[in-house]
Amino acid sequence: MEVYLFKLRFRGPVHFGDTGIDLENVQETVSSDTLFSALMNTISIYYERNEAEDLIEKFINNPPFIFTSLFVYHKGLYFLPKPMDDTFISEDTKRLKGKELKKLKWLEISDFLNWHSQSNLTDKDISNMQQKQSLYTDAFVREIRPRVVLDRITQQSSIYHCGYIYFKKNAGLYGLVAFSDKGFIEKFKNILYLLGQTGIGGERTYGCGTFKIESFEPVDSTFNMILHTNTDKYTILSLYHPAQDERQNLRNNLLSYDIIRKKGWITTGRKALTLKRKSVGFITEGSVSKGPLKGCLVDITPDNPPPDTLSHRVYRYGYAFTAPLPR
C-alpha cells in the first residue's frame, strides 16, 4: 500500500449540506462516500461513461485505492476525529474531567498518536488538547446568508437562508488515500484536479466548492506512525458499511461506534434526477474495533425507478480506512 496525503485549498466559500431546515445546516468536513460519488461523477462527465462503470466494477471486487473522509487542517496542524474508545481512562479522570473530554471531538495528530498510550491523562494534557481544538474551530467561519427570490413581474419577494463555510487562510481540508494498485496514483490526482475545477458540495452554480490541490505527496513520518503500528485496536477514518461476511462478527468486533444515516438525491453525470436514493446506514469516523475492517460498496439503486430515468446502478462508498491505535 502506498499512502498519499492530499491537501485541498478552497477558492471561495463551500456548502456541504447537512440534515436540517432547508439549506441552513452545513458541516465543515466531507465524508468519504460523498467524495467517492463526486469523483465518479467527475469521471463520467470528463471521460466516457464506461470508464466510470469499469472503475465501479473494480471497486466492487477489489478496490484499487481506498481513502479517508476529508478533515480539517489549519496552520500546519492536521486534525483527526477523537477515537470513541475511552476504556483506558481511569474512573477518577472521567468523573472529574468527563465534560471536558466529551467536548473534545477533534485531536491534533500528535495527540491522536498518544491518545491510547496516555493511561494517565493529566489536566495539562487535556487543556493542551483543548487549546489545539480551538485552532480547529478557528480554521473556518460559518455564515448564514439571507437569499431572496423576486417575482419577475411584481418584484414580490420571498426570503430564505443558506449556510456557507469559509476556510481561513492556511486552512482547508485534507485526506489520505492508500493505493494497492500503483497505476491509479496519477489517475486519482488527475480526477481530483478536474473535481477542483467543478467543485465539491452544493451551491456550485455560485462558485462554491472549487479548490486547488495544495499538495499531493507520500505521507511523512508522523502519518506513517499512525498507519503502521502493532496493536489490537483500530479506529476508522472513513464511513464504513460492513461487507456481507463481516456482519456475523460485527457485534464482537466493534468496541464503540456511532451510526449515521445518509440519504439524498441521485445525480448521474451532470444531470440531477428528482429521484431519491435508498437511505443507508454507516458506521462513522472515530468508531473503534478490535480488528481491521474491510467494508464494501453499497447498492442504493431505488427499487422501481420510473422508466427511462436511470440507466445504471447507484452505489455508495463504504470501504473502511482503518488506522491502528498505538498502545
Binding site: R49, D151, Y206
Partner: protein, 267 residues
C-alpha cells in the same frame, strides 16, 4: 443521453460601482443603535462583496423579462409559482430537462424538475465578486465610521403632518471595483453561440438596470468591463497544461467556438 463536458468558457472582468451599492445582509445579531440595513460582508476579511447568487439572479431575471413574450412569462403558460399560496412568486422554470435544453434561460441558469421531470443543472457558475486590491486600499482610508462602506441617511416625511421617519442604510461607495468570474460549461456545439450571446445580453442589461437594492432611488448603477474570455477545451483541462484561446470581447465569439469544434466526435 449523457451530458459530457466539451470544455469551459471562463469570463473575467471588473464590476465598477458608478453609484452606491447596497446588497443587504441579515439583521440578526445586530446591536441597538447599529445601522438599520447592513450590507453583506466576507465573514473572514470583513470586506463587502457581491454574492454570486445576487449577480446570477439579476442576470436571470433580466433575461427572463427581456425574453418574456417568447417564454410566456407575461402570459400564463410557461411559468411556475415558487412562493406559497398567499405569497405568490412567479418565475420562469422549465418542468423537465428536455424542455430546459430547448430553453435559452434554463439551459444557462438551470431548472428544477416538476412532476417527475429531471433537473437541469446550470451550465453557468457565477462566483462571488470580491473587492479589488486597489479598492480595498482606497476604501480603508475613508472616514465614515464604517469599515469600507458609507452611511446614507434617508427620510420619509408624512405628507400632512410632516412627521419624519428617518432610516440609515449602509452602502459600498461609488468608485469601488469588484473582480468577477463566470464559468460557462460547454456541453454541445450548436447552443454555445446562442448561450454566450444571451450571457452578453444579460451583462449589458445589468448595466442598464441596477444591482442590489433600492435601484429606483439610484443605487447600484454599475459598469461591467469584460477583460478576458478564455475558451478551454476539455483535453487541455485533463492534461493539466492549459491551452486556451483568449478573446477580448464577446463580439469575437466565432473564433472561440472553433476551439471546441473537432473535439465533439463523441458527443
Amino acid at each position: 443521453m449523457d451530458k459530457n463536458i466539451l470544455g469551459k468558457v471562463q469570463i473575467n472582468g471588473k464590476i465598477k460601482c458608478l453609484t452606491g451599492l447596497h446588497i443587504g445582509a441579515s439583521k440578526e445579531n445586530m446591536e441597538i443603535g447599529a445601522i438599520d440595513s447592513p450590507v453583506v460582508r466576507d465573514p473572514v476579511t470583513r470586506q463587502p462583496y457581491i454574492p454570486g447568487s445576487s449577480l446570477k439572479g439579476k442576470m436571470r431575471s433580466l433575461l427572463e423579462r427581456a425574453l418574456s413574450v417568447e417564454l410566456g412569462i407575461a402570459g400564463t403558460t410557461k411559468r411556475r409559482n415558487i412562493g406559497t399560496r398567499n405569497n405568490e412568486i412567479w418565475i420562469h422554470v422549465c418542468d423537465s430537462a428536455e424542455d430546459a435544453l430547448q430553453c435559452p434561460i434554463c439551459r444557462i441558469f438551470g431548472s428544477t424538475g416538476h412532476n417527475g421531470g429531471k433537473n437541469f443543472p446550470a451550465r453557468l457558475a457565477v462566483r462571488d465578486a470580491y473587492l479589488t486590491g486597489d479598492s480595498v486600499e482606497k476604501l480603508s482610508d475613508i472616514d465614515t465610521g464604517l469599515q469600507y462602506t458609507e452611511w446614507k441617511f434617508e427620510n420619509a416625511i408624512d405628507r400632512v403632518t410632516s412627521a419624519a421617519n428617518p432610516r440609515q442604510l449602509e452602502r459600498v461607495p461609488r468608485g469601488a471595483e469588484f473582480d468577477f468570474e463566470l464559468i460557462y460549461n460547454v456541453e454541445d456545439l450548436h447552443t454555445v453561440e446562442e448561450d454566450l450571446k444571451n450571457l452578453a445580453l444579460a451583462i449589458d442589461l445589468i448595466t442598464l438596470d441596477s444591482l442590489g437594492g433600492h435601484g429606483s432611488r439610484g443605487y447600484g448603477k454599475v459598469d461591467i468591463v469584460i477583460e478576458c474570455i478564455k475558451g478551454i477545451p476539455v483535453e487541455s483541462l485533463k492534461s493539466d497544461t492549459i491551452i486556451a484561446v483568449e478573446i477580448k470581447s464577446l463580439k469575437e465569439l466565432s473564433s472561440l467556438i472553433t476551439t471546441f469544434r473537432g473535439k465533439s466526435s463523441g458527443a
